[in-house]
């Protein structure tokens, strides 16, 4: 059965952060009429067309600049990256190809797609969630890494 890691579980900050992510997606949708899908916004920069570049860079600047904005007020919470460099390269390649091929990631399909009750996004979300669960199971419990 499932053992919950109660000492790691952070329900209030998780919910607060989730509401902020939802707010960001809502603002982007209601002000600019677009889906806040990170992989799509980034990937679109690789086949740029006129008038379609600056807003993408602006969104990326906001996202990448968020830790700097945070640091003006408080220390950043820990970021623990235990994967080694070869794993990070393989993971990055798979995430890059996979999100573009499947037209979205955790934000575009997971947050925005489920919010608009898209069956297509639900199928995508179940696909990457299932693959994520299985991969971690294999790495941590079968290979014992």
């Amino acid at each position: 059965m499932i053992d919950v890691a109660w000492s790691d579980f952070t329900p209030w900050t998780a919910l607060a952060g989730g509401l902020l992510i939802g707010l960001a997606a809502a603002l982007f949708l209601l002000l600019n009429g677009r889906i806040a899908g990170i992989s799509g916004i980034l990937g679109g920069l690789l086949s740029p067309s006129r008038g379609d570049i600056v807003w993408r860079l602006a969104f990326m600047a906001g996202l990448i600049g968020a830790p700097l904005a945070w640091l003006m007020v408080a220390d950043l919470p820990p970021i623990e990256i235990n994967a080694g460099y070869p794993s990070l390269v393989i993971a990055g390649l798979l995430v890059g190809v996979g999100t573009r091929y499947g037209s979205g990631c955790t934000s575009g399909h997971g947050v925005c797609g489920l919010s608009r009750l898209s069956l297509r996004s639900l199928v995508a979300t179940l696909s990457f969630m299932a693959a994520g669960f299985i991969t971690v199971y294999i790495i941590r419990h079968l290979l014992g890494a």
């Binding site: 952060g17 996202l63 830790p67 990256i81 890059g96 573009r100 919010s115 990457f128």
Partner: protein
């Protein structure tokens, strides 16, 4: 100008949400994906919080032809469920499970100055470039 400022602002709020929620930390994401170990359900609450707000926003957006700043609404219309969607999702999920990074948190951790996140992001952009090249070949033939 308004469009770009709104994009910057949305990106910033999104990033702050990822930091507060703990999702910029791959170890915490992996704690959610590890259901056979000690399971950290936090990610589910992040999704729930985001979707609660998102449902309202999309309900409002659906009734509009122009955004509140007067831009055209670009909401996806595809409902097609095909191999591309599922194979793409599965590949993404394997990568997500290996490192604990999906695109947003990878970029935020890069902004926090993490060298390992930079390596992940470079590989991710390379993966996206591979996709572009394959797609261009496919369109030509």
């Amino acid at each position: 100008m308004k469009y770009n400022l709104a994009s910057l602002f949305a990106g910033l709020i999104f990033g702050l949400g990822l930091i507060i929620s703990g999702m910029a930390n791959p170890e915490k994401v992996l704690g959610f994906l590890d259901i056979a170990g000690l399971w950290d359900p936090s990610l589910a609450l992040v999704m729930a919080g985001a979707i609660i707000v998102g449902v309202v926003a999309f309900a409002v957006a659906r009734r509009r032809t122009l955004s509140f700043l007067g831009f055209s609404m670009k909401i996806p219309t595809s409902t097609h469920i095909d191999k591309r969607l599922i194979i793409g999702g599965l590949s993404f999920g394997v990568g997500w499970g290996i490192a604990g990074f999906c695109p947003g948190p990878g970029l935020v951790a890069l902004g926090a100055g993490e060298i390992k996140a930079a390596v992940f992001v470079v590989a991710m952009v390379a993966g996206m470039a591979v996709f572009e090249l394959i797609e261009r070949q496919r369109v030509k033939t």
